[in-house]
Structures are given as structure tokens and as C-alpha cells.
Amino acid sequence: MTAAAFTLDELAAIAARVIGVRALALSPGMAAGEVPGWDSLNHTLIMLEVANARGIALGAEETAVLPDFAAVVALVNARLGPPPG
């Protein structure tokens, strides 16, 4: 059985919880540097939360160099395997 696809909304919810804000509006073309509060320490925590929630290995270093959130979501989905169906 394959996992449900990871989404930008799921990333935004995890990031908001880590950063300590009510909600975050992320768009696929945005990057961490454009989000107040998304610093390198929180980036590590966010990626640890994502890895833990989805049961995958995900390094803070490999995601820090990705150009935008779309690429982060794509990397998580690649680790999860092909979508169901």
C-alpha cells in the first residue's frame, strides 16, 4: 500500500506549528527565506517533523538547497513512492 501524497498544505501546517504561528500561506514558488520565522533551526525541526510524520528519511541539508517549496514537496513524494492507483 502506498501513502497519500504529501501536499503543500501539509508542509504549511507542520511549519506553522514549528514556527509558532496560527497559519502559513505557502505557494509552490516560495522559498524558506521569504517566510518570516523559517530560519535554519526551524528548518531542521520542520524537516524532522515531516520525516517523522511520513516515516521517511529526510535531511535538513538536502532540502535547504532546494529552490522552492514545490521542490521540497516533490522530494518528499519521491521518497514516499508512487501515488496510489
Binding site: G33, V35, P36, L41, N42, T44, G59
Partner: protein, 556 residues
């Protein structure tokens, strides 16, 4: 005559253990001094005594050998930060080139090819001053060791500083402190011998992820243990941020006993704990919080989070220091934790009496609702005296105000202000009670985010230059964040409606510009309409009034 541990250390005794993704590299005393002797010869061949050597490098044994080699050669070295993975390479190169132009080092050593290439691409004129990698004959490590001991005793290169360190974090090159051999030796004797070895950990083995371009990392995680021949286990700070498991791994593997970190790192490790693999940390004798306001709750929560890993209650201590005194001015002792219940709004001259001291944090929080529980930084180290000063005069204990210091290891910096009695005003606000220092914040408008000093005016200048922001109508300030154990950087910017930039776009652009400039992410960027910001009667943006207005609106 003072003898240093390194003079008699066995050749094969451990000097450095450096861990990164590739594994752990170990250097013996012989390897470290051999490499330093080789670097000293390479540096001496390119420069004259007294010339400044700038080392731009991540933490690694080779950079430490370069630094030691430059000191051996009588060419004062200084560490400069390398590019962070989050910094734009072109911006970094421009910034470093400007800094290098201003301080005009005779030699620049960049240990990573990427840093070297970046500097050369933007400033080809630096080429003649770059220290190239080249094979060098092995040098006499025992002679180097003896030569360094002679330098420390003033018998070689007298009058030339040992090294330079910079006293203010990220916003440019603020104050270069020239550390002399007598100052370093005085610090070693007073802090390392009489406090660390005698009261914290007789078997000193240091674990660190601190950057070498910061005085805490340079002095505590390199120079002090170097003089003592105490083993150093280290990580690069960027590696620690990306892979924090590295620190408990290193402590367990090397049976470390001492670790210095800024306050935010204790809180960060509390948040990390559920994700880290358990390691045995029972070897640790003392954790030392420094470089920013030390919060008692963060110390206690850290001990509780890692109790099952062997961290003992009362082992998180605190140090108060600054680059101008080499590093440490005070140190608290394990098992003797005291906190001060400090009001959130307090003006210099106010009395904060002994009734506010507490050992039971829960009781203190109940007795003083809303108070900040500030960890005691302990008593001054031998040879150092601290007092709160007002109008140039030392005040009795319990008066809150600017802390002044007189210290045997004081070197100051060019243009440093002095107090009438010869002391040095630190710019830090606090109170002395029962001889212990409680440091609450900064006199100047400095925001300390995760150990980095940001000058509010510098942040406002960068944010104000973003298209769409109204020039001169920006304010930056710090807000304490209990969840992260440090200050949040908050920016409030008035939008120039005529510029045609949306509030969301302006917010993102300011966040991007500030992150790129200072390597610090603003926790909040609030875009407001014109005339939101409060001005003083002198027509200047009133930082504190705007901070209060922002917090009141956030709470509403």
C-alpha cells in the same frame, strides 16, 4: 613561571576529534603541532611579523592549524565566517571582499575551494594575497611547541598581538580586539585553571559545535583546551544545525565533560529531543550557557528533557563574558543554580532586591507573575571585578543598570569608552546580587537572535531599502520568545502605497533581504499602512513605543 599542559603532552595524546558526514577524524598532539609548524613556515614565507592573517573557513582541524601556525609565526590571525548554505554566494563574496578591503590583511587563507573561488571571482586583486594550498616539508613539532610557549611568556614576537577577535556578531566588522599573550594567559589562569579545572571539570574534555569566528567558540572550544592539552571534539556549526544528532553522538563517543552553548541552543535541544537517538551523556560535568540572556527555565527544561540520557540536575551553568576580556568574566557553578525574578519592564536605577532571588523556579513564577527568570551567571572569575555603574560611579548591589568591568584580561578595542575609575562599560544591563551577575539585556539597541548581535538600525536600513517600503518608516526590535529561548527579530514596515507593491510581496521581499544580509530570519514582518509608526517628539521613530504598540495589537 607558568607551565602549560601542551608543553608536556605526550605526542600521541588526543588533541582534536572532528566529526562530519564523512566520519570522525582524529589528530594527536603531534599531528596538530606538526601541521601548525608547517603552516607557520608557509605564512612566514609570505608575510612580515605583525602582518594580519585572515582565515575564512568552516570549523575543521586544518583551520585550527592555520590559526595556531599564524600565532606561532607572529602574524596575528583572525577567523572570518564562511558562506552559510542560506547565503547568496555573490552577496557573501561582496560582503567579505568589503570587509577584507577595510582591514587589509596581508594574507587570506580560505580552506574551502568554494570560498576561495568566490572571493577570487569577485575580487581578482586578492589573488596575490591568497594562501594557496601547496605541499610543504614537515616541520619540527616539538620546536613549534616550545616556540609557542615562549610566545605566551612574552619571549618571542613581544608587542605583537597573538590574534584578533571581533566583538560584535553579524553586522559588519564592529570592533577588533587585539588579544595579547598576557591577556590570554591571564584568562587561562583565572578562568580555565581556577574555575573550569578546579570547580567544573578536573578532567576537561570539550565538545563543541560553536563557530571559531565567535569568541566563545574560539576561546572555549579551541584556545583554552589547546593550552591545557585537553581533548577537543568538534563539529562545524552548519553541520550541527542540519544534523543535530552529531552533538550527542560526539559527547558519547569522546566522553566529553564540558560544552559551551548560547541559551537558544538549550531550548532548541529541548525541541529536538523527541527526534534524536538516545546517547549516553552522563560523562558531562558542566554545560555552560553564554552569549545571550540566560533563562533559568531553559536550563531546567534541558536537564529534564535529557535526564534519561544521563544529564544531571544542576549541571547547566552560565557564563558572562565578552571579547574585550578575551571571553569569560563570570561563571556559575554546578548544583548552585539561582534565578532572579526580573520584571519585564525595568528602568536603569531601579532596585531589584534579594527577595527576587530564587532556587525554586515554580515558586518564583508563582510569587512574581509575569517575571523573567534570569539565570545567575555566577561570580566574577579571579582578577575580574564587576559593578553596575550610574553616571560613572559604581552602585551598591541590587541597583539595575549598565555593568562595568575591570579585568586582568581586558584588552578593549580601538576607541573603547572608559569609566572614571578605569573600568570598561560593557553595554550590558543587569544587576549584581550576592556577588553574582544577572544579565538582563543590552543598553544599546541590539537584538540578540540565537547568539548573533543585530543592530536595530542596520536591520532597518536593509529593510528600508526594499522597493515598496516607505524610506525611514521602518522599525526593528527584539521580542523574547520562550519557545525558542532567544529573541525574535520583528520588523514593522510602512508601505509606500504609490509604489504598487502588494503587502504580501513587500513582506516576502523584506524577509528575503534581511535573511540574506544578516543570516537571521525575522520571526515577523508586519506591513502596515502609512502613519502607523509612532515617532518621538524629536521626529525619530520611537523603537520602544512601536514595540509596545505592536505587542498590544498582537495580544488584542
Amino acid at each position: 613561571m607558568m607551565r602549560f599542559g601542551f608543553e608536556a603532552a605526550a605526542p600521541e595524546a588526543p588533541a582534536l576529534a572532528f566529526a562530519d558526514a564523512a566520519g570522525t577524524r582524529r589528530w594527536t598532539q603531534r599531528a596538530l603541532w606538526s601541521a601548525a609548524a608547517t603552516e607557520a613556515a608557509r605564512i612566514a614565507a609570505r608575510t612580515a611579523p605583525g602582518d594580519l592573517v585572515l582565515i575564512v573557513s568552516r570549523t575543521r582541524p586544518e583551520a585550527m592549524a592555520l590559526f595556531l601556525g599564524a600565532m606561532l609565526a607572529g602574524r596575528p590571525p583572525a577567523f572570518f565566517p564562511p558562506r552559510s548554505p542560506r547565503t547568496d554566494p555573490a552577496y557573501f563574496a561582496r560582503q567579505q571582499t568589503e570587509a577584507i578591503r577595510r582591514i587589509a590583511p596581508a594574507l587570506v587563507a580560505a580552506t574551502e575551494a568554494e570560498t576561495r573561488d568566490g572571493l577570487l571571482a569577485l575580487s581578482p586583486e586578492l589573488a596575490p594575497r591568497l594562501l594557496e594550498d601547496a605541499p610543504a616539508p614537515e616541520a619540527d613539532w616539538q620546536a613549534a611547541r616550545a616556540q609557542f610557549a615562549a610566545r605566551l611568556r612574552g619571549a618571542a614576537h613581544g608587542g605583537i598581538p597573538l590574534f584578533l577577535q571581533h566583538s560584535s556578531g553579524t553586522t559588519g566588522i564592529k570592533k577588533a580586539c587585539a588579544i595579547t599573550a598576557p591577556a590570554l594567559v591571564a584568562h587561562f589562569d583565572a578562568y580555565w585553571r581556577q574555575v573550569v579545572r578546579a570547580r567544573l571539570a578536573p578532567d576537561a574534555r570539550v565538545a563543541s559545535w560553536l563557530p571559531l569566528y565567535h569568541d566563545l567558540g574560539l576561546v572555549m572550544a579551541f584556545l583554552m583546551p589547546l593550552l591545557n592539552a585537553a581533548p577537543i571534539a568538534c563539529l562545524d556549526p552548519f553541520d550541527w544545525v542540519a544534523r543535530p544528532q552529531g552533538l550527542p553522538d560526539l559527547i558519547e563517543a569522546e566522553r566529553a565533560t564540558l560544552c559551551w552553548m548560547p541559551n537558544f541552543a538549550f531550548r532548541h535541544h529541548v525541541r529536538l529531543q523527541p527526534f534524536l537517538a538516545r546517547r549516553d551523556l552522563s560523562s558531562m560535568q558542566a554545560w555552560i550557557s553564554a552569549s545571550e540572556t540566560c533563562h533559568a527555565r531553559d536550563a531546567e527544561d534541558f536537564e529534564a528533557a535529557y535526564a534519561a540520557w544521563g544529564v544531571r540536575p544542576g549541571t547547566v551553568t552560565a557564563l558572562y563574558g565578552m571579547a574585550e576580556t578575551v571571553c569569560a568574566m563570570t561563571q556559575s557553578l554546578p548544583g548552585r543554580r539561582r534565578a532572579l525574578a526580573a520584571p519585564r519592564d525595568v528602568a536603569p536605577g531601579a532596585v531589584l532586591g534579594r527577595e527576587r532571588l530564587a532556587t525554586d523556579l515554580a515558586a518564583a513564577a508563582a510569587a512574581w507573575p509575569g517575571a523573567r527568570l534570569i539565570l545567575s551567571s555566577g561570580r566574577p572569575v579571579p582578577g575580574t571585578r564587576l559593578a553596575v555603574y550610574r553616571d560613572g560611579a559604581p552602585q551598591p548591589e541590587g541597583i539595575y543598570g549598565e555593568i562595568g568591568v575591570r579585568s586582568a584580561s581586558f584588552v578593549g578595542h580601538a576607541g573603547a569608552a572608559r569609566l572614571p575609575d578605569g573600568g570598561f562599560p560593557t553595554g550590558d544591563l543587569g544587576v549584581i546580587l550576592d556577588g553574582e551577575a544577572f544579565v538582563l539585556g543590552r543598553l544599546k539597541e541590539v537584538i540578540i537572535v540565537a547568539g548573533r548581535n543585530l543592530h536595530a538600525g542596520d536591520v532597518e536600513a536593509v529593510a528600508g531599502a526594499v522597493p515598496g517600503a516607505k524610506p525611514g518608516r521602518i522599525v526593528a526590535f527584539g521580542v523574547e520568545n520562550a519557545a525558542t529561548g532567544t529573541e525574535d527579530l520583528v520588523i514593522v514596515a510602512e508601505r509606500d502605497a504609490a509604489a504598487g507593491v502588494t503587502p504580501d510581496a513587500l513582506r516576502a521581499a523584506i524577509a528575503r533581504a534581511v535573511t540574506a544580509e544578516f543570516l537571521v530570519s525575522a520571526q515577523a514582518v508586519r506591513v502596515v499602512e502609512e502613519r502607523w509608526l509612532v515617532k518621538s517628539t524629536a521626529g525619530k521613530i520611537a523603537r520602544e513605543a512601536n514595540r509596545r504598540k505592536y505587542l498590544a495589537e498582537q495580544a488584542a
